[in-house]
């Protein structure tokens, strides 16, 4: 308890940055996941392959390697990203690659008959997607999306290694000032755990709401 009183307040600023980065990356991840997942089911081979390469590269390499690559290598190509931009971009694209597989799986799981029924009602492909397929797939996507969101929160600690002053980095600064490592990192772990609990709760709530609104 004493540890929280002593080190809680100075860590709150870092916590806010961590939450901000997680949310910004989450928005990017949703876009990348939907784009990537739909692209993997595209009619066009080029689109399918591009999406497959994106997914495999981001899932097949380490998040930290991606982070360092974006931060240290891209400047050689004349692309200078700030640490914050590189951090959000990598976290978003990385989570999006895992999310793309979730989106693809959920869409493939929508029964064939739903497409046939939509075709029978003379719906266009786009209408079928928005009105029929995605609303049903969304329910299947939510639980894995909640897990990915927690993975994203956990991965956000990695951006401390490219000098972003989020929760973990703030803890390191505080540690070098006070040398009270045990208490500081215990508080940091607790903070992450509480945020993770909030994420789990939010997704449970969303799932409950979506289930209620789903017909049948």
């Amino acid at each position: 308890m004493n540890a929280i009183n002593n080190f809680g307040p100075p860590l709150l600023g870092g916590l806010a940055v961590t939450i901000g980065i997680t949310l910004a990356a989450a928005v990017l991840a949703v876009v990348a996941a939907l784009g990537g997942g739909l692209a993997r089911l595209s009619y066009y081979r080029v689109v399918r392959w591009t999406a497959a390469v994106y997914v495999e590269v981001f899932r097949g390499t380490s998040t930290l390697v991606q982070l360092f690559w974006f931060y240290f290598v891209l400047p050689f190509f004349g692309i200078n990203l700030s640490a914050l931009a590189a951090g959000i971009l990598v976290l978003g694209l990385n989570t999006g690659a895992y999310g793309a597989e979730v989106v693809r799986g959920a869409i493939v799981a929508v029964p064939r008959g739903q497409y046939d029924a939509a075709a029978a009602l003379n719906m266009s492909r786009l209408q079928t997607l928005y009105r029929i397929v995605l609303p049903q797939a969304a329910l299947a996507m939510l639980p894995p999306a909640g897990n990915l969101m927690i993975e994203l929160l956990k991965n956000s600690a990695l951006v401390s290694l490219i000098t972003i002053t989020e929760l973990t980095f703030t803890a390191q600064l505080l540690r070098s000032e006070t040398l009270r490592s045990a208490e500081i990192f215990a508080v940091v772990l607790l903070f992450y755990f509480l945020v993770a609990l909030c994420i789990t709760g939010a997704f449970r709530l969303a799932e409950g709401k979506l289930k209620k609104s789903a017909p049948g």
Binding site: E56, V65, F76, T168, S181, L189, A196
Partner: protein, 220 residues
């Protein structure tokens, strides 16, 4: 800037040497995770409610907090507790502990997949709880979950670069050092990424193969 193949080729031996450290950390970490994960899964199923609940809480906590912070935590805490471990050993313990929490959930799914009748038959044969779990349940529960455990092996492999944060000279850190010495990050870091990609694609294919074999084996 153009990719300098000669420089990349010259860097490769250093990276391959560092890859050994990465692979060693993965293998040792996985050994810890498999053993500790099984212990956690059994403790989670214990009939002692305090043990089962505190284990569940511990698993949830470890799964919900960043591995990097856990690594720092152990790295700074253990010496104070009188446990002097090298950075590498601390990293292995941290990896093992983190993935033990994940593996325990996999084992749990395996246990849950065993039909009740197996427990009942064991108790009808008057087997002790120890024998029931050791001889009847575990041998049936583990084979079906091997692919899921394999996925965590690959995930752990990809998390080993985090050990660079506590000064372990693994693959990524070595790539960074080469980059810092030569002011060329392009080749070393791209090679590091390529090595990770190739190895995890191969392992993923291996796990899929194993899965197919297991399915055949279970079907027989």
């Amino acid at each position: 800037m153009i990719f300098d193949w000669q420089f990349a080729w010259d860097t490769l031996p250093k990276l391959m040497a560092a890859l050994k450290v990465t692979v060693a950390a993965t293998v040792l970490g996985m050994a810890v995770a498999l053993a500790l994960g099984l212990a956690l899964a059994l403790a989670r199923r214990s009939r002692l409610q305090w043990l089962s609940w505190s284990t569940a809480g511990f698993i949830e906590f470890v799964r919900s907090t960043p591995l990097l912070v856990q690594i720092y935590f152990l790295f700074y805490i253990l010496p104070g507790l009188g446990i002097e471990l090298s950075a590498f050993a601390t990293g292995v313990v941290a990896l093992g502990l983190h993935y033990a929490a994940y593996c325990s959930e996999v084992y749990r799914a395996g246990f849950d997949g065993i039909p009740r009748g197996q427990w009942e038959a064991a108790s009808a044969l008057n087997l002790s709880r120890y024998h029931t779990i050791g001889r009847i349940i575990i041998p049936q529960a583990i084979p079906p979950v091997v692919p899921a455990l394999g996925n965590y092996l690959v995930a752990m492999f990809k998390d080993t670069p985090m050990l660079s944060a506590i000064t372990v000279l693994e693959l990524l850190q070595t790539g960074k050092v080469v980059g810092a010495e030569t002011f060329r990050y392009l080749e070393p870091l791209t090679l590091v990424g390529a090595l990770f990609l190739v190895l995890s694609l191969i392992s993923a294919a291996g796990i899929r193969g194993l899965e197919r074999r297991l399915q055949k084996w279970v079907a027989q």
